[in-house]
Structure formats: structure tokens, C-alpha cells
């Protein structure tokens, strides 16, 4: 956050617009993710976390953030029937503008697990913005996928808004 923005927004009279501008300026800087990761993709997300420095676009070093304050949901690993309602709950608790990243083959399409107990892809339960293939994808691929998310954020396009548009809601 540079000081210019603070001086810019500080002179607005309305507190609501001040907060709005503040929020936008934060969004320009970085996304606040909420990582939910289970199996092999969890270890790759972890190693990504280890190599991360402060200048990175998405900061996953702090995992104690609640979903209400996050705007990027990162899901990695196999999604079982038992955990699917929890993921929907987390997604619904997130604020209005949100993006979803499915990391790895399991979260994208069910992966090698064609069983009764595995949800065949995250898109069966919530709209997904970016799919990342690989079993597990390397950390370089994870960084690239954030670039794709960044493009969508810049254009203000998300899977949720697209589904709404197509359904005319």
C-alpha cells in the first residue's frame, strides 16, 4: 500500500465511499486467499508457501484469515462427499466478489478416483474460475495460475458473475 492512495482517499467526505476506495486499492495490490488443501496438492501449496516472499501477488503465509475476509478460494486435493457441504459453506460465507482456483487433477475432475465417495470435480458443487492440471502441479504452475486469476480480477470477470449473467439473475 503506497502513501499516495492513502492521501487520495483520505479527503473523501463520505466514509462509505472511503471504505469502498480503500477496498479497491487493496484489491489492486493483492488477493486475499483462503486455501483449502488436502492431499498431495497440499504439499505443493506448502512448498509454494515456503519459497514465497513478501512481494508476491497472492500471500498465503497467513492462514488464520476467516473466509469472510478472503476473495480467492484455493481448493487442492480430492473432494469427498463428506467435505463437499463444508466447501459450499466456505464459498457462501465469502464476500460477493470472489474467485475460485481448483489446484490439481482431483479438484478439477476427480482425478484417478472414480468411486462413489469422490465428487468428480469442484465445478459440480461451485463455479470455478481457473483449473490447474497436474498430479500434483509444481509450484511454478501454481504461480502461473495466479497470473490467470490476476487477469480475470483486472477485467472484473468471475465464474460466479458469468453464471449469473447466463441465468439472467
Amino acid at each position: 500500500m503506497n502513501s499516495n492512495i492513502i492521501s487520495e482517499v483520505a479527503f473523501t467526505a463520505n466514509s462509505e465511499s472511503f471504505l469502498k476506495k480503500w477496498n479497491e486499492s487493496i484489491l489492486q495490490d493483492e488477493l486475499w486467499p483462503f486455501p483449502v488443501s488436502f492431499s498431495c496438492c497440499a504439499s505443493e501449496l506448502r512448498s509454494f508457501r515456503g519459497m514465497q516472499n513478501s512481494s508476491s501477488y497472492v500471500d498465503v503465509s497467513d492462514i488464520s484469515r476467516p473466509p469472510e475476509k478472503a476473495d480467492l478460494l484455493i481448493v487442492g486435493g480430492t473432494i469427498s462427499q463428506k467435505i463437499a457441504p463444508h466447501l459450499i459453506d466456505i464459498y457462501e460465507r465469502m464476500p460477493e466478489e470472489k474467485w475460485v482456483l481448483a489446484v490439481g487433477a482431483c479438484a478439477s475432475s476427480g482425478g484417478p478416483y472414480w468411486t462413489h465417495n469422490v465428487v468428480q470435480g469442484l465445478s459440480q458443487i461451485i463455479p470455478v474460475d481457473v483449473y490447474l492440471p497436474g498430479c500434483p502441479p509444481s509450484k511454478e504452475m501454481i504461480i502461473q495460475s495466479f497470473e490467470a486469476i490476476r487477469e480475470r480480477v483486472a477485467k472484473k470477470v468471475s465464474a460466479l458473475s458469468q453464471t449469473r449473467w447466463s441465468l439472467n439473475v
Partner: protein, 566 residues
Amino acid sequence: MFDFQEQEDLDLINNRKLLLNELELEFGENLTLGTTENISIVVSPSSYLEKILQLKNSFGFNFFLNLWISDNIADGENFELMVQLLNMDTHQRAIITCPVTELEPVPSLSDIYHGAFWCEQESWDMYGVSFDSIPKERILSPEGMEGHTLRKNFEPKPFRLKQSVDYSFSPDPRVSRSEWKRRSVHKLDMFGGEVNGPLRAIVEVYDEVIERGRLEIGYLHRGVEKIFENLSLNQIQPHLCRINTSSPTMFQQAWFGGIEKYLGVHIPDRAKALRMVFNELDRIYEHLDTIGRIVDNLGCYPFLKETIEMQESILMVMKKYSGQRLNGSLICLGGVKSDVPKGWLTECLNLLGFLEKKVLEVTKLISNSTLWMKRLCRFELNSKQAMDWGVSGPNLRASGVNYDMRKVSPHYFYNDIEFEVPLGINGQCYDRYLVRVEEILQSLSIISQLLDNLPLGDTKTKDNRVLIPRKQDVYSETNALIQHYRFYDGGVILPEGEFYNSIESSNGELGFYVHSRGESTLNRVKLRTPGFYSGQCFTDICEGGSIEELPLVINSLNLVVGEIDR
């Protein structure tokens, strides 16, 4: 000169013979001697509990390994209950078989061996065989599902997940009812990477102190055992390394080692040594993972970066060999994937030097720090509790029990290699941490000994039953072409029978029970994963802690949920 080692071996053989003679006198025809370490005993349902008690009290089978249902009889109604026990003095394993049906409840073993509790619950979940005093609740499958998954006639139907599950605890007999009513019950979802996989802890809290607690599992249940029943042996390989991704080659070693033993396939010495190198590298990786998670829970972020850097260095060496960072299928049937690439050995030796320097550097800073000691010298698990629950591996050794399968029933070259088994004293989180640090250093020494004396020769067996022919031979030679089609069409076929193979994985005893009917797919596969038993002892450990410390307790036991849920 008098050789103590040989004397010990002779004593062991004599003791084992004595035990077998006594068992033969007692059980007579019902006893069958399988391989050297496994015997099987058939008991009738009426005398089931009595015989198990007898085995525990008179014959010294004091360690509970596993309990599962198998449908070896193919009529869909009658099942076989199998209990596996271990005598820790003679390292004798016994499988007790008892015929059961879904109609009559079986007496529960959870009072004799506490570790049987989750196993019996799983038996109801998977096969519908109920046990006395065990609640008929789903443990791995979602609540609200119809049918029992592992039965051969199971057909999945769409269902509604039951949301309102009762999490309350039964009244505590230790305190008065009015005091018990003042306690509150909390659910803690750990889905965001605090622990290795999604877990839910349910705790009963009074005045911010945990009085009782238990874990709820099943959030990563993928039905691996069901998948194994529907695939041929070659297709199973990629699934093995994804069960516990921190140590993929351990599962491959236990699986392929067992099949090779069963078929009588001999693999070359170089392959054996390389397999051991991979296993030990995995052990280091997983222990570093555990230490990193403990550090993370305590908020020491710089040290987390150090451990992740060390893990990365191991992954880079693995990548150089197999092309994939994690989950590279390093071990295959009849040997290892390929010979080591040029310069790999030097790189591996460099890695050992780097790791040793770094591990000593990091642990020197944290092991004696007051904060570290103050936070970790808690959550005690004594040796009796650990043996009751069936906890094995570093968690058992941290409680002071000297039992390492690499020493007591060594496979490959573990006999010829010098290493020590580190032991803890109190079984606190601090002991579990220290045992893991010491095991890393011992594993480094094992790898350097192996690399110094790496045998020359092939890395794959020449046995025709399991060998995949080279591609250029398939195009030119008829025999290779036939072998190619036989391998990729039907796969390797195991002759009718059953076997159990186990190794010392980084978390404890990891075993595979396999029953084959002589077809291209297997009839029943049961995994003995160490996390399933360490997870149950959470009930004993968590008392007296606070809610923020729960991830620390779970990580000090190194519970990998992919391994528990399967």
C-alpha cells in the same frame, strides 16, 4: 570371540519354536504355519473372545495390529473376521480367523485392545457386521449413505448427507453430573492446512481446558481398498504413492515387496539397495515435514522456511531421478524404475552433507530453547497406553518401547548396516520431536553407507513372470511380443492364497493383507496404516491442553489423513 548377536538370534529362534509348540498343543488342527512370521489360527464364534484373551494373557500376543472383515467365501452373506496380533518378544505375527454373519453381533475387542475400536466401527461401515457395544455409526463413509461399500454387491445410489449429527459426549464417570453439565462441546474443523489433511476434532471443554476429545475422520475417504479390488496389479501402482504423499515409496515397497515374496521373485542387489535409499530419503522427508508443521504451529516462521528448503532439496534429487517431484513411481514390480542417471550419486551425497549440516544447525537453535521446551514438554503418552492403542513407529519409540522392524525383522541389507534406534523417555511431544530428529540423522548415515557400498549390476529382475519387456525387443522378438501382450492385457496374476507383508514406514508399521482367488483382479486388500491407530490415541493425549494446541498435538503424532482415511 563370543558373538552376542548370534547368541541373540539363536535365543530368538528357540523362543519362537517354544511358542509355536505351545500353540500347537493348544490349538491343534486349527493352527496352520504360514511363512516364518505369520501363523493363522481358526476359531469358532462361540470361543472367539476366550481364545483372544488366552492369546493375550498366556501366549504374550500383547500388541494389536489389525482387525478386518474379508469375504473370502463368495456368497455375499457369510464373512470372515480376521484379527492380527503380534508377540513382541518373538516377533511372531498371528492371524485369527472367525466366521461371522451380518445377523449376529460379534463380541467387541475394544476393552482388551483399545485400538480395535475404529477397526470395528469400520467393519460395520464397510461390511455391515456389527459388534457389541460399538455404535452403528459411519466412520469413513458419509452419514446418510445406504449400503455397505466393500461388499461385492454394493451399488452406489444418490443420497442426502445427514447434517445434524449428534456430537455430544456421554456423561463422564469421573465427575458428578452437575459438574459435567457445565462443560461445553466444541467442534474444530482443520481444513486449511494446519494439519496434514482435513480433520475434525471434537472436544469437551471446561474453563478453557480440554477434558475429553476425539477425532472425526473420513473427510478424505477415497475408497482405495475398493479401487484396488477392481484394478489389475499394474494399474494399482499410481494409487500407491498417493495414499500418503509424504512418503510414497514406502507404500510401493510394502506392496511390491510382498508380491515378490509371495511369487518367489528375486530382485538384484542393486535394486534392493536403491529401494532402501529411496525409503530412507522418504523417511527424512516425512520427519522434516512433521518438524516443519510443529514449528509452524508454534509460529516460528523462519524455521518453517528452513525445513521447507530442506524438503525441496530432497525433492530436487528425486526429480532428477524420476522426472517428478512428488509421486514419481520409483519402485516397480521386480526392481526399480531405472538405473540411476549420471551424476545422481554425487548429487545424493552432496544432499546428505547439506541436510546433516542444516538439520544440526536448525535443531541446535530450537531444541534447547525455553519456549520450545515449555510448549512441547506436555501431552504424555506412556508405553502402556501406546501399546494398547496399537501405536507404532516413532510415536511408540518416543514412549520408550524399543521396537523397530528394521532391527527385529530386517529385510534386504538392514542386517548389514550399522544404525541405532533412538528412544524417548516420557512420550511427550518433545520426545516425539527428538526421536524424529535423531532418526533423520540415522537415516542419513544409512544412506551414506548404502551409497558407499552400492552393488553393481542390473536394476530389474530377469524373471519372466513380472518383467516388462523393453520396447525395442517387442518390435523384433516374438517372445517379447507375447510377454508384452500378456503383461498389458491381463497383468500379473497372483496364485490363489493370501499373504501379509509389512515394513517399518516413517510413521510405524505399514502392512498389506492381500487375498487372491487366482484371477487378474484381487479379492480383498486391507491396508494396515499406522495413522489409523495413532489417531485413536488422541483421546488419551489431548487432556489438559487448550484448543489452540490441538494442531500441535496432532502434528506431533504426524497424522496423515490420506493414510488414515484411505
